[in-house]
């Protein structure tokens, strides 16, 4: 079973079309193994992206160096998945 230890979901807010293009460039970097939950298309719509632990630093540096706003939407993905699993087990027992 795939685990997501240390993975985060970032919420990115592009402020203009140029930043959208920069996010699309980021999306094309396959080696980062990013999982875009919402796609960069329009500055009005935030971009949510799941970032593997190994890529976190590079992605954050990329965003900061391009002055693109972001926040952490999910701090530790595995923790949320574990909670979901636990909830399933306890409801199954009930």
């Amino acid at each position: 079973e795939k685990t997501f230890i240390g993975e985060q979901v970032l919420r990115i807010k592009a402020s203009n079309g140029d930043q959208i293009v920069q996010l699309q460039d980021l999306q094309s970097l396959a080696h980062l193994q990013l999982d875009f939950w919402t796609n960069p298309s329009n500055p009005e719509i935030p971009v949510d992206v799941r970032v593997p632990f190994e890529s976190l630093q590079s992605v954050k540096i990329y965003l900061e160096s391009n002055k693109i706003d972001y926040s952490i939407m999910i701090e530790d993905l595995q923790e949320v998945i574990n909670a979901e699993k636990q909830e399933m087990i306890s409801s199954e027992r009930k």
Binding site: P46, M88, S91
Partner: protein, 308 residues
Amino acid sequence: ERNSGAFNYGAYHTLDNLYRAIDAIMLDYKSIVSKQLIGHSYEGRPLYVIKFSTGANRPGIWIDAGIHSREWVTQATALWTAHKLAAEYGKDAFVTSLLNNYDVFLLPVTNPDGYAFTHTTNRMWRKTRSIRSGSRCVGVDPNRNWNAGFGGPGASSDPCSDSYFGPKAESEVEVKAVADFIRGHSNIKGFISIHSYSQLLMFPYGYKCTKPADFEELNDVGNAAAMALRSLYGTQYKVGTICSTIYQASGGSIDWTYDVGIKYSFAFELRDTGRYGFLLPANQILPTAQETWLGLKKILEHIRDNPY
């Protein structure tokens, strides 16, 4: 005691449990509910449509969920809705009049291979599980695989991408099964597809950014549905074409259904707007299903009252 009433609709379940719940609803309400096998998934799992019918030769309304496997709140919402439709017939005036005039076909798990995979192996899996020789990556995005602007903007030709459109339109047996069903029925008047997340209620088009011929009507119905949905818990939805609300996306189901003549083609993106995304806590399943029902109801009422 009815077994389907004892089922815990407020929890996430494995595919086997969901299929058992479908059987329970069918057994409890066998005068109006039946199960129709419309095909099998790539890995051989059955694709069960729950049919609600009170008479012969009725026009149909289609509702599906779970085409993207990781969107767990959608399969759960669909199952709750199935029980609601079955249990309220003969009790609730709207459900009774709807089912006295239309058959409803509800497919709660459109991508069962993906759904099973999210439980056993990778919670974040979105696509089908089809394998193609010569490709190292598995699966196709089944909502980029319909024959509507197939292969256009907003879909990827890279088999490793999560929005890979596939080798050809309807290459995915799950998509072909639904498309064949719609073609075979030939009298489907509404098609509603349930996704998550973002809180959107969308209508065609996604493969192009022009308004559909019925824009005004679809927009009005969509806004009325969003208002009804909001009335329960204040959940706000944005309404519009796929292209205007999210982005250009080709090969989607509701564009295909609209282009084949199903005027009332809508897609919901359920809760939330980005606190949990695909990992919506189970305690939000019932509120989500209940509020979505109010939105759905508005659309279904409009379909019932505006035959074409």
